[in-house]
């Protein structure tokens, strides 16, 4: 009898503790989500007012309503696209190497290097690109900016690619080898396609990460009020730089344009992140 009573007391205490912990977990989740939602809502409210057809087709002005961000959008697309062209193949191949052939000293070294690279402040990468490409090429240029962003992308892509390839079951690999496929064909035609969903996710996340980078761009493409589609010559505009420029203006209309540009940038990153999630979810279910 008394036995039962103590158990039930203990049980009540356990249940109480369980409740308390659950509530704590909810609160922490909320604390993590609230700032994100606030930022999104705030940027949307402040930024939507600046949106107009001219805002997307015009060039920036230092007064009035700030003009448009056409050149900044194009600049960001060019620079991020160019960075992807450089960073994605490099990152994927490094990831394949680490997963398939990287169980040796060289592999550990590369893995350590990528981990360090993930932690390097982006301004340092910017200075590096400045010294290497801006000075030697005689001025700010899009290529130097893309190069610095690519450096930031590579470690992210490398590590996700490695993780995803390691997740491919050994039985699939053995099946291909047992059919008389050489090792490299097994990797290219069987292993990588099986891991492709995860690899794509890593790529999109890395693009989202660098699309908003500002510091290295200040040192490499500088920013510009004009449209410049040349890759190796002249300052180029980009969304983060344009936001920075707009926001330092004394005019309220120009400040509003900064919010409008921020909204564009946030949406671009959000869409990329969501696409990454979607791809991973779809792949995961099959």
């Amino acid at each position: 009898m008394s036995q039962l009573a103590t158990t039930s007391a203990r049980y009540r205490r356990r249940k109480l503790l369980d409740k308390a912990m659950t509530v704590m977990a909810y609160l922490c989740t909320l604390a993590a989500i609230v700032p994100l939602v606030l930022v999104l809502v705030y940027v949307a409210i402040k930024g939507l007012g600046a949106w107009s057809p001219q805002f997307f087709t015009g060039l920036p002005q230092l007064f009035g309503n700030g003009g448009g961000i056409y050149n900044a959008i194009i600049g960001t697309v060019i620079i991020v696209g160019l960075a992807s062209l450089m960073g994605i193949p490099f990152g994927i191949m490094a990831g394949i190497y680490l997963a398939e052939y990287g169980n040796n000293h060289l592999g550990s070294l590369i893995r350590f290097t990528t981990d360090v690279m993930t932690g390097i402040p982006s301004i340092v990468v910017g200075i590096f690109a400045y010294g290497l490409l801006v000075v030697s090429m005689g001025g700010f240029n899009a290529f130097a900016g893309a190069f610095s962003l690519a450096i930031l992308m590579v470690p992210i892509i490398t590590r996700t690619t490695e993780e995803m390839i390691r997740l491919v079951p050994g039985s699939i690999r053995e099946a291909a080898l047992a059919l008389g496929a050489p090792r490299w064909k097994t990797i290219v035609y069987v292993v990588v396609p099986t891991a492709l969903g995860g690899i794509m996710t890593g790529i999109l996340l890395s693009i989202a990460r660098v699309a908003g980078e500002t510091a290295p761009l200040i040192l490499t493409i500088l920013g510009s009020n004009f449209l410049n589609t040349r890759i190796f010559q002249g300052p180029v505009a980009a969304l983060p730089l344009q936001i920075y420029d707009f926001s330092r203006s004394p005019y309220a209309g120009v400040i509003e344009a900064a919010w409008g540009a921020s909204l564009v940038l946030v949406l671009m990153v959000l869409i990329l992140s969501l696409a990454a999630r979607l791809i991973l979810a779809r792949r995961g279910s099959t």
């Binding site: 099946a175 291909a176 059919l179 008389g180 064909k185 035609y189």
Partner: protein, 295 residues
């Protein structure tokens, strides 16, 4: 005829493109061998296998007969899987995997220093215990995967190959209307038959099967056994099984693997015609095992 045969078989590692009659030969059944004492497809002499320092198999001597089904039985852990993986050099894919001794395929050394394991695996195909279709490929692409991965791709022949091998694997009727669907959408038993078809599409000389039906229901098992009966017309089959009835039903020869004392490597304890193994084996352990008294 015998000598002609061996001569033709004596270069099994050449590029199949350069040797067009290699494929035709295996297409026609080989009546010359019916009723005659069969020739050896594969021979192992004093074969030992290691995982790093651990010796898993010792001194295996066996002669696997052409166009026959050879069953390998024995208690768990005695090295049956290790042995079949030696036969197509998949053993060396395992980290630390190493072979000693001699292994011949139609008289030619399989483990020679300048023998490409990739070529061996095209001659000696393998079906695994767990069905492992390629998840990103359709049923059709799964079947021809071996041909594409091996670099043979006369696309005009491919759909013929798909139909023929799926029929051989007793799967055609169930999938003929959904060849473009993912191989993962099939049941486990169907997936396993798909894996058999995939192995056959490469036109191997020898087909190794490591407990191909262990995860399957009796109906799927029956279908796979039926398929094997036809396979031996054209292929040499080696099958590992824990199912005594299955071994007795389908095989012509049976090898019993056994570990006498804990920690010893596995050995081929007895090898004989299946009827002999199951009625009057020479060794007591074999008899105990096949009659279910231990193991």
């Amino acid at each position: 005829m015998e000598s002609e045969k061996t001569k033709e078989e004596s270069k099994p590692f050449e590029d199949p493109e350069k040797k067009p009659d290699a494929r035709q030969r295996s297409v026609e059944p080989q009546p010359a061998y019916r009723g005659e004492p069969a020739a050896s497809a594969m021979v192992a002499e004093r074969l030992s296998a290691y995982y790093g320092a651990f010796k898993a198999l010792a001194d295996i001597n066996i002669s696997i007969q052409q166009n026959k089904i050879t069953a390998l039985i024995g208690p768990s852990g005695c090295g049956k899987s290790t042995f079949v993986r030696c036969l197509n050099r998949m053993h060396e894919v395992t980290p630390g995997g190493r072979i000693e001794g001699k292994l011949l395929l139609y008289g030619e050394d399989v483990c020679g220093r300048d023998v490409d394991p990739v070529q061996v695996r095209r001659k000696v195909g393998m079906v695994f215990q767990k069905p492992n279709p390629f998840p990103t490929m359709s049923i059709y692409d799964n079947v021809i995967a071996g041909l594409k991965l091996g670099g043979r791709r006369k696309s005009s022949e491919l759909s013929e190959v798909v139909e023929r091998t799926l029929r051989q694997a007793a799967l055609w009727d169930e999938v003929k209307d959904k060849l473009k669907e993912s191989g993962m959408a099939l049941s486990g038993g169907q997936q396993q038959r798909l894996c058999i078809a995939r192995t056959l599409a490469v036109e191997p000389e020898v087909v190794l099967m490591d407990e191909p039906a262990s995860a399957l229901d009796p109906v799927s098992t029956q279908k796979i056994e039926d398929a094997m009966e036809e396979l031996k017309e054209r292929y040499t089959v080696v099958i590992v099984t824990h199912n005594m009835q299955q071994a007795a039903r389908i095989s012509d020869y049976t090898g019993f693997f056994y570990i006498e004392n804990m920690g010893d490597p596995g050995r081929l304890w007895e090898f004989d015609e299946t009827s002999k193994i199951f009625s009057s084996p020479n060794r007591k352990e074999t008899e105990d095992y096949v009659t279910g008294r231990f193991g």
